[in-house]
């Protein structure tokens, strides 16, 4: 037994020495005496995860370690699903420093099936979107099926398709063409509310089906370390068939503009802050042959602060519609993301043309507690602020939560379970 233990001890010492000494290449590459000045990933590096990005940043200021570069190249290749990732060194700006450049090569054709949204909600049933995407180089074609009774006053079911060219003329410009064709189902509360609405409101009626075509161009105005700013411009041609078959189809054709900002701030240690903000405008105009003329504004700001296993999140959303817009444009609260715990048909079965909502959330490992507050109303009406609170468990995209409306009288909690929403 004793000789065996001695052998094990000797082996452990040798192994430790090997680790301390580094790889053979590290010892024999004369450039290992230089310090890493910067690390960059050439090509499309948007999909690199935060964790891997932090590890790349961590190399800066350290002595060059070829083995670590090989390891990171392998991980980048796996994350980006590309054919090969190599690295090369360049002289730095400062003497005795080197720049590390990872070169991403080839974007092979691939097919991916995904579930961007799947949620079950008591009083709402299942909602889900299933897509398959075929990617060849920078171009992608997505086909999917959807049935969603969570976002809008209606449940819309049908097919979605998207063609996307992620590199139109340059890496900073991308193009996409979205197509959707839905069949609608309406809640009795909405139909009743429409029948009994006051003449002042004049909310357009329900429809049986809806088709949408949206050509959009996105410009990456800013990318990289300080943050990213993307501007999307395009048009939306929405055509829907009113409930009565004899009625002529109506259209809501709009100019679409979206501006989004994203910034991540690395703090000391594991602290990290993240800002996301966006503003979108859909302006339907007669110039595009629209039967409706309105402007729908929506803005959102989200702040996330992470430290250790904890994360605190605040998300503010607000919107307003100027003009007479069809039902699918109206804002709703009381779904799986906004004012959770409330039934949206109890709040307003027709939605509102004004909306404001704030959500505060604290997450620790799997656990999640949240407090939502928001109001939905129509122009000229008084806004009533409502609150909800809940607890949940979140792991690897799966989420289950129990939310309670904060109100007087009988309280009926809402249970939600799903993924990727």
């Amino acid at each position: 037994m004793l000789p065996r233990m001695r052998f094990a001890t000797l082996a452990a010492i040798l192994w430790s020495c090997t680790l301390l000494a580094g790889s053979p290449e590290q010892q024999m590459n004369v450039n290992t005496r230089y310090t890493v000045e910067s690390v960059e990933v050439a090509g499309d590096n948007q999909a690199i995860s935060n964790g891997l990005r932090s590890e790349l940043t961590r190399l800066v200021g350290e002595k060059l370690n070829p083995a670590a570069l090989d390891d990171l190249a392998t991980r980048i290749r796996r994350e980006l699903h590309v054919r090969a990732v190599t690295h090369h060194l360049l002289r730095g700006q400062t003497p005795e420093h080197v720049r590390v450049v990872f070169d991403v090569r080839g974007r092979p054709a691939k097919f991916e099936a995904s579930v961007p949204k799947l949620v079950y909600r008591t009083q709402g049933g299942f909602s889900g979107l299933l897509t398959g995407t075929a990617t060849v180089g920078w171009q992608a074609l997505t086909l999917g099926v959807v049935s969603d009774g969570d976002d809008l006053a209606e449940r819309y079911s049908g097919i979605v398709a998207r063609y996307e060219d992620k590199r139109l003329a340059s890496e900073r410009v991308s193009f996409r063409l979205d197509f959707a064709s839905y069949h609608e189902q309406w809640n009795g509360a909405t139909v009743t509310a429409l029948q009994h609405q006051s003449t002042e409101n004049d909310i357009p009626g329900i429809y049986r089906s809806r088709d949408d075509i949206e050509p959009l161009v996105t410009f990456a105005l800013m990318r990289g370390a300080p943050g990213s700013v993307n501007l999307t411009l395009g048009t939306s041609f929405e055509r829907f068939q009113p409930e009565f078959p004899a009625a002529r189809p109506e259209s809501a054709n709009a100019m679409v503009t979206t501006l989004r900002y994203h910034r991540r701030l690395e703090g000391s240690g594991a602290n990290q802050q993240q800002w996301d903000a966006g503003y979108s405008l859909r302006a339907a105009t007669n110039l595009l042959g629209s039967d409706f003329a309105y402007a729908r504004h929506q803005g959102d700001v989200q702040y996330v602060y992470s430290w250790g296993h904890s994360q605190i999140l605040d998300a503010l959303t607000a919107g307003a519609i100027i003009g007479r817009a069809p039902l699918f444009e109206r804002f709703m609260l009381g779904n799986s993301t906004l004012l959770r715990g409330w039934n949206r048909f109890d709040l307003d079965p027709l939605g509102g043309d004004r909306m404001v909502h704030n959500s505060v959330e604290y997450r620790y490992r799997l656990f999640d507690i949240f407090y939502d507050s928001g109001a939905i109303w129509d122009q000229g009406q008084a806004a009533v602020l409502r609150h909800a609170a809940g607890v949940g468990i979140r792991q690897n995209g799966l989420y289950a939560a129990l939310a309670f409306p904060i109100k007087e009288g009988h309280i009926e909690p809402i249970f939600m379970v799903g993924m990727n929403y």
């Binding site: 290449e25 090369h88 003497p95």
Partner: protein
Amino acid sequence: MAQAKRGIKTVLAISRRHWLLASVAIPLSCVGAAERLDLTWDGDDLHVAAPQLHFLTGKPLDRLKDGAAVVFLTQLTLTTDNFTTVLRRKPERFVFSYDLWEEKFSVTKLGEGQRTASHLSAAAAEAWCFDNLSISTSDLPQDRPFWLRFEIRAAEPKDEAAVIGDSGLNLTRLIEIFSRRPRDQQPEWTAQAGPLRLGDLKRLVGRARTL
């Protein structure tokens, strides 16, 4: 003089077609042809040199200038029957790197008596590599004809970790590597000499004589 004149006449008689064939055949015959190998003998070992052979070129050189270390595998093969059977093989491993700031090469010979030279030009680095190659001539009678072949191949990047590991190269692994056809990114150079006899080489102490 008359012979010379006849020779000139003969050359002048070569048709255009023959010139064309020759212009194609001569370069083709050079492709894959082994470089000449210069030998020196110190009484125990044969030492080699091939001043015309430059292996710090092409993709391996590009990789070096990109800051990577490149492993070169060499093999000396001694035979007494024009490479029908092998009398002895001697594999070696060299790790080259290129200093990005000093623009000089560094070479390390792996294995027993590992040694390194640095601040070398490309030609000096290649010469240092040859200076550190030798093969024993024990059991080789001085009057027996022999042939010697030198091969050098840049290891593929994915194989580098394996070939520079502490376990090194065993004969089986080496034969396997050199018996594989080199891939596009794995250039290979060869040089050879023979038939020669040790007895024809002046036996010197140290390395002094070049054939």
